[in-house]
């Protein structure tokens, strides 16, 4: 435990004494009204329901037998989140789901988010900064199987996790280690020695060095234990029998007894349960008051606002155009459909390209999104299809824009109709051409933007097949290939590896607005202006 917490601990203990057990002993899954179902060591089945609810809420695959790891805390190196990140690849091999809850987006948030994009059905991030209750934390603990504790501290959280049946993966020698020792060996009645015959078994999984590798190995051990159904049941039920705080606290190093108070700021409710108070502005940026003369050094407190709903519970499949060569699709299948006969949990994702079709993925969950490579000037449509070949959902058609000039040259000139002034807005105005004339060959050649005094220094070559016409201005530069590839989910890269793309064109002047483009005025200090901020 760090210096700060040591200093903070005595201050926190004071209010705890004033109203002790009420707040603390409410950490009991048998009586917790925030949970989908109550459970206890005597009736542990409610935990399965809590797990299903958590998976549904976060868009994870509904898998009752896949273990869920939970990490609660800051997404910072200081909190040890880098170890969690490092352990994730190992966890993906053993097929586990990981839920990360944090009060704010820390420095490492982007790294984790990138991974969640790649594995939306296995990884979930919850950033909570709003309300002041702990119901979501309770629901998360109740739904999880293990708790990842990469730091030396966290005994308070570990205790909560045990009470809710989530076993800690923690550093040996840390506070959690001490807690676990006290629970298994130290106490008069060892937590796990049934009838005094079996040797006491630790209620957590300890690792010895603070490294991602060690954390990952301990987590994999936990998964191995989870796969042994009988052993796991025994462990979990023992965890659910972990006593109240008072009897535990005595066995702990004094610094660890910051058990009251939430370990994270808040983990608010999600989905459709919005907090009305915050909607009206009760919970918002708390302006810090700074003593006159003292310059604040820490970063200002950031309010990210109320969490958005994770799901809408209705059918959706949309396809959006990012550029002539890139599409984005997302979907959600309404829960009501799961009840339909013959419903499959996993569906195929199919892209219709003109009359052809391309299988993007043979199995996707009922909630997700996808980046798709495309070709310019074509029509696309996305479909979710059941393994039996039945269409589940279908998107609207979209057309990718051209990225070169049209070969069609027949020009029609029209005189615009009289402006429809005085007509009430909303009333349709006469449209179309009042007088159509086919243009006489009035020009020697067609004008293009290249017909200017100072053509840009780097002009693209006329696109192949543009019939000798003075070609239009350089096509808008596409994303550098490397970027596009990096941004792409791995499985999509695999799925589309055979996809042909035009060779990277020579560097072209970028189009677009200037505050927002590469060719921006940089003043002299090199920093780009913020455009419209």
């Amino acid at each position: 435990m760090g210096e700060d917490q040591k200093k903070a601990a005595p201050r926190r203990r004071k209010p705890k004494r004033k109203q002790p057990p009420a707040a603390v002993s409410s950490w009991s899954p048998a009586t917790d009204s925030a949970l989908t179902a109550a459970f206890s060591s005597a009736r542990p089945s409610g935990k399965t329901q809590c797990k299903a609810a958590l998976q549904a809420e976060l868009g994870l695959k509904p898998r009752p037998r896949t273990p869920i790891f939970l990490y609660v805390g800051e997404l910072e190196r200081a909190a040890g989140f880098d170890l969690v990140l490092g352990a994730l690849p190992g966890l993906s091999k053993v097929s586990a789901q990981v839920v990360v809850m944090t009060p704010r987006r820390g420095a490492l948030a982007a790294a984790f988010e990138a991974l969640t994009l790649e594995h939306p059905d296995r990884l979930a991030l919850l950033v909570e900064g709003g309300a002041k209750d702990e119901t979501l934390l309770r629901r998360a603990l109740a739904g999880s199987d293990m708790l990842l504790l990469p730091g030396a501290g966290g005994a308070g959280l570990a205790w909560r996790g045990l009470r809710y049946g989530a076993l800690p993966v923690a550093l040996a020698g840390g506070d959690t280690g001490a807690l676990l020792d006290s629970l298994s060996a130290g106490s008069r009645k060892p937590a796990l020695s049934k009838k005094g015959t079996a040797p006491a078994e630790s209620l957590g999984f300890l690792y010895r060095s603070a490294s991602a590798l060690a954390l990952g190995r301990a987590a994999q051990k936990a998964v191995a234990a989870y796969r042994e159904a009988v052993r796991w049941r025994r462990l979990r039920n023992a965890a659910l029998r972990v006593p109240e705080l008072d009897s535990v606290a005595g066995a702990l190093p004094s610094a660890a007894v910051s058990l009251s108070g939430s370990p994270v700021m808040t983990l608010a409710q999600s989905a459709h349960q919005f907090d009305t108070r915050s909607a009206q502005g009760a919970v918002h940026i708390a302006p810090r008051t700074v003593a006159h003369g003292a310059e604040p050094t820490d970063a200002p407190y950031v309010d990210w606002g109320p969490p958005p709903p994770t799901r809408y519970g209705e059918d959706a499949l949309e396809l959006l155009v990012q550029s002539p060569r890139r599409l984005y699709g997302y979907w959600e299948i309404a829960p009501a459909r799961s009840a339909e006969p013959g419903h499959a949990h996993e569906v195929q994702l199919v892209l219709h390209e003109g009359r052809a079709e391309r299988l993007l993925a043979s199995s996707v969950a009922d909630f997700g999104d996808w980046w798709i490579d495309a070709e310019p000037d074509r029509e696309y449509r996305l479909e979710l299809r059941s393994p039996a070949g039945v269409m589940v959902l279908e998107s609207a058609r979209v057309r990718t824009p051209r990225e070169d000039g049209s070969p069609r040259e027949e020009a029609q000139f029209v005189t615009r109709p009289e402006p429809a002034r005085g007509v009430a807005p909303g009333a349709p105005r006469p449209t179309g051409a009042a007088r159509v004339t086919v243009a006489p060959p009035r020009v020697a050649r067609r004008l293009t933007a290249a017909d200017t005094v100072r053509p840009p220094e780097r002009v693209a070559k006329p696109a192949a097949g543009s019939r000798g016409k003075v070609s239009a201005t350089p096509a808008p530069a596409r994303a550098p290939k490397a970027d596009a590839a990096a941004a792409k989910p791995r499985r999509q890269r695999l799925a589309e590896s055979a996809k042909h793309r035009a060779p990277a064109s020579e560097e072209r002047p970028r189009k677009g607005r200037d505050g927002r483009r590469s060719e921006t005025y940089t003043g002299s200090s090199g920093a780009p202006p913020r455009g419209r901020r």
Binding site: A114, H272, F274, T276, Q280, H284, P287, G293, E295, P296, D303, W304, G305, P307, A316, E318, V321, Q322, R326, E332, P401, E403, D404, S406, P407, R408, E409, A411, Q412, F413, V414, R416, R421, P425, T431, V436, R442, V443, A444, L447, D451, V453, A472, A475, P476, A477, P509, K511, G512, R513, D514, G515, R516, R517, E519, Y521, G523, S524, S525, G531
Partner: protein, 550 residues
């Protein structure tokens, strides 16, 4: 010299697109992001309005197209923000007064402090004495004097191609037209599509609302079907009957580019060196926001100088900078003349060079920008007759015969398509935006003629949706400038919308709650949720039409 009635060699259609997202926080006494508006008023809107007035007074013949977006208009007409702007200005003037008192006239800083003191005094005089805090009246007056043509924008700078339904697109356009009419007393002829974002089909919605023209980026017309005879130098008419004018990238680059652009000239004022960071903390502390974090104050004493570190900058010389702005105006005009001369032989009409810019570039980013514009207009009027300034309306009146073309989908963002507003960082937002859109449309369908509290709730839900659709949020998330604020705004509008929608559907509207939300998100007080119905809200009576000033 050109004879009367003879056509010029070319037209220059200069468009200033002024926009800021709707930022208004009555729940806080002091809100950082409201400064965006205040800085733009002082540095951009007032200087440009004053330049226009000076030129009109001097009989300069010029034409300028200015887009005032509905959120900007709503903020410029908002009493709370006007009050806060006054406070902001007073605070700045107090800081300048301290600077003037502390630096004698013969020092560089002393002179510059006095320069700012005059600048702010003139700004205040213009704001208070001439327009009594009502800059919308100043814009309207500029329009009525005849030199300035005002156009509108999508309601909240919504990005039309990434919306899910035509109903939502139509509402953005309808509300944009209506907001303009209520502020400026007449229907707009033209529209600036948020982010210049166009896709085939949008033109139909524009024509449906009586809009005659809009703007696209160069490749909107260059890649259109069929290929354009005159390139980007003449507008086209879309099949639906609206006209598209395309941006000329060369004139844009001259102003914006880091290599060729004017604002990087060493003589000009340096944006990034500010008294807010230079002065001793205790000295500027009373003039900072309540959080006490150092920020830009607007008092900048240094010039761009060259490629040197910020601490090596030379002092700013306002007079030399004005001269440089005049030189740049001549340079810009010269190149438009050469461009027109080059283009004219291939055309049966004078080429129309369309040069649109973010208005906030002029003044806020490029402090000398408004002076540049004034020099440009004066030179164009008195020193030459090859280039004539024009607005789209004038152009179409003079050259009614235009090519029929379906422009291509395009935006003015980096790479020219939707990437800036749809990428890994912000793609998730569209799921929420689309579900919200569709729920709004369903509500409007289900309640064709709501009244009382239900109507108030529906109207507010429509406001929340419009604010959610502002393209600024996705843009900020991409550029990583004020991400927490943008995310928070997105989430708050989303939350309020779905709270309202749930209350309406379950018939438990809490009027107090609705009004609390309306107090916070007070844009478009006249909004009628039936903009989301196919037939739209009933047309307002003419009396209602004239007096409003929302």
């Amino acid at each position: 010299m050109r004879k009367p009635g003879q056509s010029p060699a070319g037209y220059l259609c200069l468009v200033l697109h002024s926009h800021l997202p709707y930022v208004r926080h009555p729940e806080h006494d002091d809100f950082l992001e409201e400064d965006w508006l205040f800085e733009a008023i002082t540095e951009t809107y007032i200087p440009i309005l004053r330049a226009c007035e000076r030129m009109d007074r001097d009989g300069v013949r010029y034409r300028l197209t200015i887009g005032v977006t509905p959120p900007l208009a709503a903020m410029l007409g908002d009493e709370l923000l006007i009050f806060r702007y006054r406070r902001h200005l007073a605070n700045l003037r107090a800081l300048v007064a301290k600077e003037v008192a502390g630096h004698p006239t013969d020092t560089p800083i002393g002179n510059l402090a006095r320069f700012y003191s005059r600048f702010l005094a003139e700004t205040e005089a213009y704001f208070e004495d001439e327009w009594h805090g009502d800059l919308l009246a100043a814009f309207k007056n500029a329009m009525e004097r005849g030199s300035v043509e005002l156009i509108t924008c999508t309601a909240t700078h919504g990005f039309l191609p990434l919306m899910s339904t035509d109903a939502a697109r139509r509402a953005q356009i309808r509300v944009g037209v209506e907001a303009f009419r209520r502020v400026f007393g007449r229907a707009p002829r033209g529209i600036w599509l948020g982010e210049c974002a166009y896709q085939p089909g949008v033109d139909e919605l524009l024509a449906e609302q009586g809009l005659e023209y809009f703007f696209v980026d160069a490749h909107g017309i260059e890649y259109g079907e069929p290929s354009p005879v005159f390139g980007v130098f003449a507008p086209v008419q879309t099949p639906a009957g609206a006209h598209a004018f395309a941006r000329d990238s060369h004139s844009s680059r001259q102003v914006w580019s880091s290599r060729e652009g004017y604002p990087g000239d060493p003589i000009y004022r340096e944006f990034y060196r500010d008294l807010g960071f230079d002065a001793e903390y205790g000295y500027v502390r009373p003039h900072l926001h309540s959080d006490g974090v150092r920020r830009n104050t607007g008092l900048k004493y240094y010039s761009v100088t060259g490629n040197v570190e910020l601490h090596e900058k030379a002092y700013y010389d306002p007079e030399a900078a004005i001269e440089r702005a005049a030189v740049h105006a001549s340079h810009f005009l010269f190149h438009r003349q050469a461009q027109a001369r080059e283009l004219a032989p291939g055309m049966d009409r004078p080429p129309c060079i369309v040069a649109p810019y973010d208005a906030e570039l002029f003044g806020h980013w490029w402090f000398e920008g408004p002076m540049f514009l004034e020099f440009l207009f004066r030179k164009a009027a008195f020193d030459q007759d090859e280039i004539e300034l024009i607005t789209p309306t004038d152009y179409l009146a003079r050259h009614p015969e235009v090519q029929l073309q379906q422009p291509s989908a395009s935006t003015w963002g980096a790479e020219g398509f939707n990437r800036v507003w749809l990428n890994d960082k912000n793609a998730d937002l569209y799921r929420h935006q689309h579900r919200t859109e569709r729920r709004m449309v369903r509500l409007a369908e289900r309640f064709p003629d709501a009244e009382g509290p239900v109507k108030e709730a529906l109207d507010q839900a429509a406001r929340e949706l419009l604010l959610l659709q502002s393209s600024d949020w996705a843009f900020i998330v991409t550029t990583e400038t004020s991400v927490p604020y943008a995310v928070r705004r997105l989430r708050e509008h989303l939350q309020r919308f779905h709270l309202l929608a749930a209350a309406i559907e379950e018939d438990r509207v809490d009027l107090e709650q609705v009004r609390a939300m309306r107090e916070r998100d007070a844009i478009f007080p006249w909004l009628d949720y039936r903009v989301y119905r196919p037939e739209g809200p009933p047309v307002l009576s003419p009396q209602e039409n004239g007096d409003c000033h929302a």
